[in-house]
């Protein structure tokens, strides 16, 4: 069996007295879309925040490319190729698409003793990457706030891919979208997976998950009920598990 790019075992997380996660294990494999399913409050966001260095687990181990590590901060997660697109704060609405896309990794050029942002190059690469993802963008200086929800997610995904994500985590990218926009985002996810990137797709919508997922892990009240493989599980079973019943 292929070594997982990322493996988390027996992860537990407490917030003071609240037990958000206990004994959650998951294996993430390159080129696969791993769906993390669960009802609201099941602990999905908490789990992926541990994967992306926002939270530290109270217990459990994290392996990256087969080696045990700790992910100290969002920055160190990004540096090792774990990129996350968050549910509500994928982008900063008041800033332009270009400034958002490059945020934290701006291209600079030297002008005399000064380092300035290479706006021309930033714009050109942005447009190119958007085209690759099938997103038509009119103007790189357009503010992110004027994009549709689906476009926002897609830009954020394109950004993560461009910056060399090995593991792309998407926290409910489709939950706030309409049918058409959802379709677009799911297509983008499929494109990302084809590039050999491991996708972790969080959703509470079983239909969305079934459309792109290769593996399905269900979380319920902070516990995993196991991982199922595409083709060996159907809508009814997943739905049933999400409501809190054991996997047979």
């Amino acid at each position: 069996m292929e070594t997982p790019i990322m493996q988390l075992t027996d992860i537990g997380k407490h917030f003071c007295s609240i037990k958000a996660l206990s004994n959650v294990s998951i294996k993430i494999i390159q080129g696969e879309c791993h769906c993390l399913l669960g009802d609201n409050g099941a602990g999905k966001s908490t789990f992926i925040k541990i994967m992306s260095g926002v939270h530290q687990p109270t217990s459990g181990q994290i392996y990256f490319s087969g080696e045990m590590t700790t992910i100290e901060s969002p920055r160190s997660a990004i540096d090792s190729g774990i990129a996350t697109v968050y549910q509500d704060l994928a982008m900063i609405p008041l800033m332009s698409v270009m400034r958002n896309f490059w945020l934290g990794r701006e291209l600079v050029k030297n002008i005399g003793p000064f380092k300035i942002m290479d706006t021309k190059k930033c714009n050109a690469i942005l447009m190119q990457e958007m085209e690759k993802m099938g997103i038509s963008l009119h103007d790189p200086s357009q503010s992110v706030g004027t994009l549709s929800g689906g476009e926002k997610q897609s830009v954020a995904i394109a950004r993560a891919v461009y910056f060399g994500a090995k593991v792309l985590i998407l926290d409910e990218p489709t939950s706030a979208l309409g049918v058409y926009q959802t379709e677009k985002v799911l297509k983008t996810i499929a494109k990302v997976r084809e590039k050999g990137i491991a996708v972790v797709f969080i959703s509470h919508n079983v239909n969305h998950a079934l459309e792109v997922g290769d593996k399905f892990t269900v979380l319920c009240r902070g516990k995993t009920l196991g991982t199922a493989v595409r083709g060996k599980i159907d809508y009814a079973q997943l739905q049933y598990m999400m409501s809190g019943e054991k996997l047979n």
Partner: protein, 371 residues
Amino acid sequence: MFMFNSLVENNLKIISKLKKSLARPDLGAITGTILVFLFFILVARDTGMFSLEGTMNWGIVSSQFIIIAVGACLLMIAGEFDLSVGSMIGFAGIVIAVTSVVWGWPIWLSIIIAFILSMLLGALIGFIVIKTNLPSFIVSLAFLYILRGLTIFGSIHSTQKTIIGGINEVSKGDWLAPLFGGKIFTGLFTWFAEQGWIDVFEFGTRAGQPIVDGIPMMIVWAVVLVIFAHFLLNYTRFGNWIFASGGDAKAARYVGVPVDKIKILMFVFTAFCATVFATCQVIEFGSASADRGVLKEFEAIISVVIGGALLTGGYGSVIGATFGAIIFGVVQQGLFFIGVESSLFRVFLGIILLLSVIFNAHIRKIIIGKG
């Protein structure tokens, strides 16, 4: 049908371009400045307001507003406020006066110490804001009182007075003081006077010297700070991080922007600007006073808001804030030139502040796509 489509498309493009130019943060302040100038050129052209001397007069006052507005602007874009700016001005001035005049330190050392102390205090305010997660409004309000109180106490304790003079004497021959109290291009202005382009004093001790004999450092500082801050904000990655820190600190953190560091540095920069203001004033007046700078924090914030920045952070412009400060300076001095009761200036300010905030809120809606 095809023609119709392209027509519609063209119109849409024009509309979106129009919306975009309307959504410039500094548009309101630039328009306002033009209107204010038009008004005073019409009303006050016979008063000497636009003579060289008059221009210097409102130029200096505007520069004072600009210096503190620049600091407040970057800080507000980074999502924070500093209400201690006015107290910081009083504090820095008294530090310079006490250490140089009373304790006899060389004034360059006093100035450097004042800068270090203020900037450390700025860092402390920022640090407390970050660590406690309290609104900077409250934390800096606390420092407004703490610093003002300490300044008055320190001044009275060391000299039994709240005004300390004698700065002129101790700054003679100093290498650093002219950077704040001197003038540049004095040779050029003397030459202008010799050519008869500038009036000269006809009587008194300065007879034969030009009425305006150079550009005061206050103006030079204002120009330098505006260029620096505008460049930093718009052309560097650090500037991008300032916008991001105020736009959405959490989102910025998630992509690795050092939000805490940036916010603290912006508090330090605000303190730096306040100290520049204080030092220029102390050297120019030849004295420090414990009650200097009262209300300056609000004047700075108002300039920034007139300049199109959002009180909620993440959006604004140094150029806008600069024009906001110019409106401030020109109107204040202009009313003086035309002999209008100065209390009416406050009425004007209140009204323009209110209009700006309403206008900005509307712009915000356009930018975040809800307009």
